[in-house]
Symmetry: D3
């Protein structure tokens, strides 16, 4: 049995609250159960130096976790003077995923900086980050259109992310922490609303797993992401 009697293909209770930040051009507080991530999108009219004059824009992401977002306190990265390897890996993933969902030429020569800050962690922080960040990015792009800075919304794909894994021999959607820490395999999916693959990262945590298991995890992810995309649309409308 999963915690809270969840079905194997059932997401945790999802809440996406758009526009939560007083200042940011786009924002979303994404909650996947007890995992809470504050995502903001900041528009910067400058692009990185190496893009100047290209006519194209850029989307980049940074990720952080509050020191006490987890069971025991983690050292503050700003105080250590260095982002950890896990942080670097995650923020690169978020950035790639978002850039894949947007037309950088239509964005124009400006940059959108995404910040995903984990308030509370209970598994799946990177996928909640991507799901919330897409809402924040969309909201910021809508604002650029409203302001007449661009004529057309550059967001090309509706997409979200979710983790799946094999726990106690069963394939499951949207692992929470107690499941994640006992998983035989762990996979993060970034898919479009109709199941197109933007990014997949899967690792065995124990024995290697089979291609057929990978297929089942992909199927679960597609189901979950279809639901998440509906929640994103609802969040943007309200």
């Amino acid at each position: 049995m999963r915690p809270n009697n969840r079905a194997l293909d059932e997401l945790r209770p999802i809440s996406l609250e758009a526009g939560i930040s007083r200042y940011a051009e786009g924002s979303c507080l994404a909650r996947f159960g007890e995992t809470h991530v504050l995502c903001t999108a900041s528009v910067d009219e400058n692009v990185p130096r190496w893009m100047k004059g290209s006519g194209k824009g850029w989307v980049t992401a940074e990720y952080g976790m509050l020191p006490r977002a987890t069971h025991s306190r983690n050292n503050r990265e700003a105080a250590r003077g260095k982002q950890g390897g896990r942080t670097v890996e995650i923020q690169r993933l978020i950035g790639r995923a978002l850039r894949a969902s947007i037309d950088l030429e239509k964005l124009g020569e400006r940059q959108v900086i995404i910040d995903c800050d984990v308030m509370q962690a209970d598994g799946g922080t990177r996928t909640a980050s991507i799901t919330g960040a897409w809402v924040a990015l969309s909201q910021a792009c809508n604002k650029l259109v409203e302001q007449g800075l661009i004529s057309e919304n550059p967001v090309t794909y509706k997409m979200a992310a979710v983790s799946c894994g094999i726990v106690d021999g069963t394939c499951r959607l949207d692992l929470e922490y107690v499941e994640d820490s006992a998983a035989q395999a762990d996979a993060n999916f970034v898919l479009t609303e109709d199941g197109g693959i933007i990014e997949v990262q899967a690792s065995s945590e124990d024995v290697p797993f089979k291609a057929s298991e990978m297929a089942e995890l992909t199927r679960l992810a597609a189901k979950g992401i279809s639901e998440l995309c509906k929640a994103q649309a609802a969040a943007l409308e309200s």
Copy 2:
């Protein structure tokens, strides 16, 4: 006229929500108007190396601001690899203030690490941090007593902090950002509930100010802090 018709000696709407973190031993979401700071207190059974064997405990604090807590985005300190001077100055102030309110011998040889993370900034983030951190620290100490790890609550003084300043020639309590950025003088007070001075930092932002003005600012602070201490007590009771 102050924004929102506030009286000169009136605090912004204050909300102190204790126990907001799922994991931390103590926590408080402190809101002074649109300034929102999440404060957590984490108990660590180890003390810093230089205190080992002293039989005394330690309280230390770290402060951070989410990159988009402000009107325009600030660089993430973890990404820059360095905490800024302002951050360092503030977190040293928070730590000193809290250590002054607690009996480190009664705490026993353990450490409480305070994290103050600014979700949204509208002036007075350091004083909101101290006010909220005192609640988180008290809650964590209560838990130590409940767990039988210490016999007596080591918190010695009820205290809080507030900023005051001179704006348009008038002394005002609890400046918000639009006032702060136009102030002729700016002062931060950490006082006990009955007005005892724990720490005062006052700076002229324009022409030097008079000792009589300093006295008036102190009077305003004592009034505000008396109210804040009541709000802290209420937050701890609920």
Copy 3:
């Protein structure tokens, strides 16, 4: 047509030269065409602090690229004072992949540090690194058995890694740089010799791709990895 008339499911010329380092306990110079990576395995009789007393060993990896391994010179990470995000991401992947192929209890409380240094880069440096590092690790483990420090070789799985991708609409095995930079999708596979999945990372570089394309890429990878595992065995025998 692929460069050098390669078939879509054909590896570049592979050379794995074990024992190339005068000092390291295990080593392999891995060449996938013009991509050359020097891999060494260093045995350290200490484990990281957090593992002390666990009775288990550890395998970790570091990755670097000589500044002029590529068309234009990259800044030296040691001089910049920081490893780049790509480096961090890759060395974490190498470490995970190798730990998944070894029984850390049988290794005993000691650490094997893998260094993968790219002498020359022409695409696929991370997968060449993993493939060569497995040879270096195996050689180092053989030496531990020969020295009587452990009774049984702890390497559990024969595994290797290869990249695949979709270029000009065709799925291809083992992309070289000119293909990689034009790919619509790019995937790195770490598989056992019989196709068990240890890690998969796949990204679209342009439009999202389909699950059926993912399956074809996996099939190509399994074919290539089966050949690479034979080359590894041969390298270890000589």
Copy 4:
């Protein structure tokens, strides 16, 4: 009794030696008893990037302590790769204090960089730094006028700094180290020659202190600073 039979409102022997540096545009070796600080003012015809084109100048300060300026050796900050929190806090205070004493528009679009390096420490290094730095800054400004680069000396306020504290229940002026380390309260004042407040920082080191004690400390500081301003004027004249 205070050390050396000093009266409660008596400064230590003060020596301010202007023009001590062979190269700097302004300089002062400030001695407050056994506390010795070398202060230099360097004129830089460039302003920080964010001030370019503003027509205004800037004054900034850096503070350092020789590793063996104190009883036991402190690690060299340059070797540790990081300025400590205390250093950061002090140099920000010095910079703010000096900027408050000068008209940045009259300075013109150039920067004065103050360096305060503690040769020997016996309490009160930050206030000796500010007092000496004001001399160095004034000397540098005089030189700018002499050179015809500006028409009017931009220094607006005559000011100095001193520490006061409560030791053994008595309020005292200009604490030396043995007093400072036993103080119940410790306050640093930056005042104009006629007692206008530029900056005050006061902390309890033990029990909170009273507003009436704060007033007495302020009175002592004003007396001391009046004397220090005379010494500064004398140093500039010679």
Copy 5:
């Protein structure tokens, strides 16, 4: 007896392989016995900021050692976030030596960046680096002439470097590691092919040595460097 029956004034087997890098404008794999250094010269059409507009070029060098180039593994400098003191000292020596052998005005306003990476170390890595780097630099300059970017080869002096030392009371040419670690004195020479001094660094490792011993070490170095310059010429011709 020296290892391998070498005569006191005999170099180890020398191999200089020019053009070994697929991408670099100049390159040389320098082997002095078991010491192997890969040297590359990268032409950068930008000069450092402080040289802009000077009409002169610049040559700079960076040095690194693979972590397992030595008997036991050294920490990777990129991971430690800092180049060690020995590395800094060596790369400054390499840069000075090369700049002394070239006419920076004839080079034109561009920079050549030399990378010396030690694959395997058995004593004399800095002198092997200089010897190989001179070949790489010459090759890169030849290419600039061929491309018509400069009209005349700016390399002014044929030079190389070698270490000498006093071991067991005898002066010896080109120390290998076992000799180096037992040396009473250790000297590194950078000389022109006819014995002109570019740089000498000599240290006693035990008792101070005599000027007459220094003279003998210099004589040995001149002999060795004359041979190395012939090997360099041969490497550039092939």
Copy 6:
């Protein structure tokens, strides 16, 4: 003609003031003309970790320059977060030179940390540092003998350091800045009082120089160092 009509083999006015620091176990303010270096020796009863249990002591050195010790201001290394290459090179030289003059076994398992801080620079700061540091080290060792912590003074060699160079075709002793910046060759000598070589570093700044010139520079250095050793002895006696 040299500045101030100095003879070619004449030192600048030398002043060595021992015991100048109130706190350090040994200290010396070394002045070579307008070059002023404050040298302190701090005894630390701990040795570096890798020497623990060896029964031997250690001597290490750190070097720094006040930001405005020179004609124009240099960035503060503590603020940049990194010691420059020149600093690293110099402090390694100072440390090696001092270790060569002392019997580390007689020192016992303790460390002497030398700090050389340049107050004012006019050429020859590294050689003034070594000369002054030897005095500080000797004084600290004398104190260890007086305190009965060691039975015999471990300083084995009387030694000092001086720079020489070729300027306008003439070999000169103890270059000051205007000469140094115009030198064709520049050499730093660390010699014992009777001319034994501890360390020599010589570089051509223009055309390579001859062995006969090197010999003349060595002769000049020996003359100067013999005089400096007399000044050191006098400083220690007073």
